[in-house]
């Protein structure tokens, strides 16, 4: 797109992540979804007269995890503030959030660019806040309000305007999803609203150091259209500037169905939130020891893990990328490798292949989570051990895998019970080969006259006699020896 060359986009993202706590941020109501409207409610989240919020300790633990994972400074003291505005799904008329003293500041996240190089995206702040309820507007005259979601804990992660393309924004958002899911603090599901994204977008001539006028683009709530929406807005701004116009600072709502961003009509006072310190909540103090103890619980992150797989198991980058996509999958793979009797690049690659293809296939078919996959990593490792030591063939392993899925039994037990053990008894194979050659003198002549394609026929016939259990390598070797003698 040559017309874009003189301009570069400047993008900052505000990501909201819904925390996976059992109870809400400031009351003991369940955070469970899908319940009847207004059934996960209590006087506190309904904002009834006289109630008071009490902070859920796990919210603090989760946000510290996020702060550490993104290299932020964790504030020794942080406070809550009220953000005041009127909306039907905001029962108190204010949202409890953080303003002047957020709990995490000044961090960064590493993303991978298209050319494989890495870039740090700065994080200005991460703060804790509560979610609003749900208004259903699709009626002509009325709006219906469900308070269930009110008070569900959120963290808001505000990036610096460090992103220079829609693709970088996508990579950043993917990294966010990966981090929150690795940390186990959010399920990362954008489509269901557990992860939400707004963007601040501006453009400027390449080489300029000042920022252009920005617009706020709301509702980028799907990985599918984040890039598209950002590109739309960048193109719009460039077109405006190129036609001699000016970008107006405004808030736009992305409409994914029409593929356009629509300005929100907003009155000037709609943005005067009148923040002030929340008098009903006391400051959160985070001592050094708490930071250190949370730090110890942090998992290894995807990029580090991927590099380690390549170095330690000699896996191709392709495999390492897929395996580290989610923490659950990576941990399944690693548990499998740990349980192998013989651990070497060959068996590790086998573990990788089985995890990436067969395990993931079943997970997708059944719409289950890795952690609910019926074959335990130790059992899968047991099966790979049987292949590696020649007890079973890879072909039989496919059947064994299905048996394990169905019965959940130990592979060794199934192999014995079903007689799946590979026959490597040379005498038995020789006898079978002799029988096949004896019965097919014409084919033998053909082979000897140079028509080697009949070899497959001999293998098949031998296997038939051996009921498929013969060690295929031995069958090949013995057949060759007999035919060429």
């Amino acid at each position: 797109m040559s017309q874009h060359r003189p301009y570069e986009p400047v993008i900052g993202l505000e990501v909201h992540a819904q925390l996976l706590t059992r109870s809400k941020a400031f009351c003991s109501c369940s955070t469970e979804f899908g319940n009847d409207p207004n059934s996960n409610v209590c006087p506190v989240c309904l904002g009834l007269p006289g109630v008071l919020p009490v902070l859920n300790a796990r919210v603090v633990e989760f946000v510290i995890r996020m702060g550490l994972a993104t290299h932020c400074t964790i504030a020794r003291k942080s406070v809550f503030a009220r953000k005041n505005y009127f909306y039907p799904d905001l029962p108190k008329g204010y949202q409890i959030s953080q303003y002047e003293d957020p709990i995490c500041t000044d961090g960064f996240v590493e993303i991978e660019l298209e050319d494989g190089s890495k870039k740090n995206i700065g994080i200005t702040r991460i703060h804790m806040e509560e979610d609003a309820g749900k208004s259903i507007h699709d009626l002509d005259v009325d709006t219906l309000v469900d308070v269930n979601r009110c008070g569900v804990p959120l963290i808001e992660i505000v990036s610096k305007p460090d992103l220079r393309s829609p693709h970088e924004a996508y990579q950043y958002l993917s990294a966010m999803k990966q981090i929150v899911t690795y940390l186990g603090i959010c399920d990362g599901n954008m489509e269901e609203g557990s992860l939400r994204c707004d963007a601040n977008v501006s453009v400027r001539p390449v080489g300029s150091v000042t920022l252009g006028t920005k617009t706020e683009l709301k509702n980028l709530n799907s990985f599918r259209f984040v890039e598209k929406a950002l590109q739309y807005e960048i193109n719009r701004q460039i077109a405006l500037l190129e036609s001699g116009g000016q970008v107006v600072q405004e808030t736009l709502l992305w409409n994914p169905d029409q593929g356009v961003a629509i300005p929100m009509r907003s009155k000037e006072e709609a943005h005067d939130y009148r923040y002030f310190p929340e008098p009903d909540l006391v400051p959160v103090l985070v001592p050094e020891e708490q930071i250190e103890s949370v730090r110890k619980t942090l998992p290894e992150f995807p990029m580090a893990r991927r590099d380690r797989y390549i170095a330690e198991y000699s896996l191709p980058k392709y495999d390492a990328d897929i395996l580290t996509e989610s923490r659950d999958l990576a941990e399944y793979f690693e548990a499998t490798v740990r349980a192998l009797k013989r651990r070497n690049p060959e068996t590790a690659k086998m573990a990788s292949n089985w995890t990436m293809t067969d395990v993931l296939r079943v997970v997708r078919e059944r719409h289950i989570e890795i952690r609910d996959f019926p074959i335990q990593p130790e059992r899968l490792a047991g099966m790979i051990d049987l292949i590696a030591d020649g007890t079973i063939s890879s072909k039989i392993a496919k059947d064994l895998f299905e048996e394990m899925l169905a019965s959940g039994d130990h592979p060794g037990i199934i192999v014995k019970a079903k007689g799946l053990v590979q026959v490597s008894d040379e005498g038995a194979i020789e006898r079978a080969v002799a029988e096949v050659l004896e019965k097919n003198p014409e084919q033998v002549l053909k082979y000897k006259s140079g028509k080697h394609q009949v070899f497959g026929y001999f293998v098949g016939e031998t296997m038939k006699i051996m009921k498929g259990k013969a060690n295929p390598k031995l069958v090949n070797d013995i057949l060759k020896k007999k035919l060429e003698s």
């Binding site: 007269p49 006289g50 109630v51 008071l52 005041n84 029962p91 923040y275 008098p279 009903d280």
Partner: protein, 473 residues
Amino acid sequence: MTKTFGRIKADLRSGAASCESITMEYLGSAESGRRYNAFLSLFAEKAVARAREIDRKLKAGTAGPLAGMVVAVKDVISLKGERVTCGSKILEDFVAPYDATVIERLIAADAVIIGKTNMDEFAMGSSTENSAFGRTKLPQDEDRVPGGSSGGSAVAVKAGMCTTALGTDTGGSIRQPASFTGVVGLKPTYGRVSRYGLVAFASSFDQIGPFALTARDAATVLRVIAGRDERDATSADVPVPDYEKALTGDVRGVTIGIPKEYYGEALDPAIRAGVEKGIEALKAGGAKVREVSLPHTDYTIAAYYILATAEASSNLARYDGARYGYRAKDVRDLTEMYTRSRSEGFGAEVKRRIMLGTYVLSAGYYDAYYRKGQKVRRLIQNDFLEAFKSVDCLVTPTSPSTAFKAGEKIDDPLQMYLSDIYTTSANLAGIPGISIPCGADKQGLPIGLQILGKHFDEATILRVADFLETCNM
């Protein structure tokens, strides 16, 4: 019937009265004193049923420490299944689906709750004239106000309609009506009593406290309602002492501070004389008395009205007609519903304070007003902390005037605000304060003497108050 809880307990022991007969008597007084408009609701049947139950417990020897005490509750405290109107049209029909912590504690201690009392709307006022349900009248002179905002509770105690009553004090709303009506009113330390279930006016100022005929009865109630509550993050973990044990009738060894700024030119001479008589009695009783200075006293009202109204503007945002409370009729859209419900539902004083509070928090003004107010608040608290280095408590007048005429200040908000001049400082600093009767002026209107104490040292101010009661002023 104006009996102390001590007398009631003696009557219960001797068989001269039962919890039921006591409750009936109070209900009778409430009925005959209807014209004072002290109560917004009376729970006659429930109270009698409950009293009978407590009589059974008394017989069985299983009754709680407040058995025989009949309590009225300011209608800003949530009592499950009953309306909590806050004196406002906007909550006229609102029924609370939960109990405030203080209510749970009173009930667990076997108090009988007789009804909910009238108040200035959302506790905003100093006269109980700002109620959507009519003003409360001073029993001694019905043309006058009983003070506010907890005027209904003060009158209920004064007129013998209950043994004690709960009020709330944000800038003096317990102490000033106690002073006007001639009863004891205690505002505990901020954080001493759980605010869970108290409908917020200004969250960093509000405290629940008792009205009673004596300091001893106030001490008894405080002991039951005080203490840490998991549902209120601002409630303190400080142990609750046996306050009654602190009432030794002796003030020897107590050092009393007289803050000179509270005795300026503007003070009514009759009130000055009354309070000075109290100070003389303390001296005679062996207390040391010395003058102290609270240099930022003059900034108290200004800081208070900025901070309290700011918090109020946010606390009262929830009354929007959406989920509960008054909703204006025939509204076309959401904005109209909000605006008309709130404009029709709130009274003038409440709207005035929401406006002031919204203004001081709005873009561009926060630093000049709100942050400035918070800084001055610290200076005011520091004044007290400094003074308490050399004294155990402070003695001041409660109010610069005795009960004034209804309508006298209603059109001059600033004058009304200035009548809180001696009480708001305790709320800014978070310290406890008590008002006790201390003689009367020429017209026979009660004068109140205020004792202010250190954080969480209600014991000392109760001890001094109890001593002064025995001096028979």
